[in-house]
């Protein structure tokens, strides 16, 4: 089971929900912080980091001795990461999306792939929870390959769950927004838990995120954070979209204080542990019903 926690709008409480959910379930849980531009789940979980590795993405290197300046590599690159002029070839590694097209089309075998550093990945454990996150290198713009690396390090491909993965609950803390990094974090997950707030901004970005989730065809449910502020438009929208509201977290001073100290709500306010366990139970129900009906098709 892979649950991704997404939101559209930033700052709605994705990490709060992801970390407290992980801690409440307890055993056989993995959490992957895929918000690699600004990972923060570690601030709340405080895992002991056991492993650290540098993550690279392949970019082209051209052997000018072999290159005949035929331009085939430049023509196939939709990101314009290679420019070929008369007797000159230039690469722009920061524009490269590592598709390997240039290597495949080069008739002279003049292109090889070298690694460009994207950032680091760290893995560790806390209270029986497996933890992993990525940290994007400062100045780097290309996060999806790092997100995929963080996911693949702990989660096997969907449909090919290895034995060690059976029964494991994987929770992905996704980045905000609806662009490539979010898709990289949500794609192939069994359930998307969307966290929003009942404000016009929250609703606006939620709608965009729901459209993205629909395209991916993943079952989803909603957590409304700071549920007693704002208005009812988020709930009306959820009703219309048949998006179940699985949990509401009030705008509570004590919750805010716990959060501001980098602590978990479920630890400091134990009454929340059952609520988060119930949230998981609901996700599990919806997830298994949906996947069963999916198989029937």
């Amino acid at each position: 089971m892979i649950i991704s926690v997404a939101s559209g709008k930033g700052g709605t409480g994705k990490t709060t929900v992801a970390t407290n959910l992980a801690f409440s379930i307890g055993a056989d849980v993995r959490i992957m912080d895929c918000d690699v531009e600004e990972p923060n789940a570690h601030l709340f979980l405080k895992p002991e980091i056991e492993e650290k590795s540098i993550v690279f993405t392949p970019v082209p290197e051209i052997d000018e001795e072999k290159c005949t300046f035929c331009k085939k590599c430049a023509e196939i690159c939709r990101f314009r990461a290679i420019a070929v002029m008369d007797q000159i070839v230039l690469t722009f590694p920061e524009l490269c999306h590592s598709c390997g097209g240039c290597v495949a089309v080069c008739p002279e075998d003049a292109i090889s792939e070298i690694g460009r550093e994207l950032g680091i990945m760290e893995k560790g454990r806390v209270n029986g929870i497996d933890f992993a996150h990525g940290k994007l290198r400062i100045g780097e713009a290309m996060s999806p390959p790092l997100i995929r690396k963080v996911r693949s390090s702990v989660e096997s491909d969907k449909g090919q769950l290895g034995e060690k993965n059976v029964g494991k609950i994987n929770i992905i803390d996704a980045p905000p927004g609806t662009s490539c990094p979010v898709i990289a974090a949500m794609k192939g997950t069994d359930f998307v838990l969307m966290v929003t707030e009942p404000t016009p901004f929250g609703l606006h970005d939620l709608k965009l995120a729901v459209e993205a989730v629909k395209l991916l065809g993943i079952p989803a449910g909603l957590v409304i954070n700071r549920a007693d502020i704002g208005d009812d438009t988020v709930k009306e929208y959820a009703r219309k979209e048949k998006l179940p509201v699985l949990m509401e977290i009030p705008f509570d001073r004590k919750i805010a204080e716990v959060y501001s100290k980098g602590e978990l709500i479920v630890e400091k306010m134990p009454e929340w542990k059952d609520k988060f366990r119930d949230l998981y139970r609901q996700i599990n129900e919806i997830g298994s019903v949906k996947s069963a009906s999916h198989k029937e098709k």
């Binding site: 314009r80 990461a81 420019a83 524009l95």
Partner: protein, 120 residues
């Protein structure tokens, strides 16, 4: 000698387009005879990424040794520099005006990009 000028239209009376990579046209002109060729750059106007790189490659392919434009980003400048194409990035007026200013020695060449890249 040929020079490239970014243009809002396909002839010498058109206004110079200050954008380089996403200019509507790139006019390749002989500054002495004013013979010219207009390259339709519309495909690049809506390019997802790397419009400057593509336009710079096109300018090089046409054999121009000078570019008159308004703004030039770092990637485009890198390609132009590698292709030994000199860049004027504060040219204005019609294409004809800009070429005349160039002929009169009123324009000075830039030694770097004058705008930020778009991926940052």
């Amino acid at each position: 000698m040929k020079i490239a000028v970014t243009s809002k239209g396909p002839d010498l009376e058109s206004q110079l387009d200050p954008r380089f990579g996403r200019a509507a046209y790139i006019i390749i002109v002989d500054p002495e005879t004013l013979e010219f060729e207009a390259i339709d750059n519309s495909e690049n106007v809506n390019a997802f990424k790397g419009a400057g790189i593509q336009a710079a490659t096109a300018v090089s392919d046409k054999g121009a040794s000078v570019l008159l434009t308004g703004f030039c980003g770092p990637n485009a400048f890198k390609v132009l520099d590698a292709g030994k194409i000199k860049v004027v990035n504060d040219a204005k007026g019609t294409i004809k005006d800009a070429v005349r200013s160039f002929n009169d020695g009123k324009l000075s060449f830039s030694d770097g990009a004058n705008v930020e890249g778009h991926w940052t």
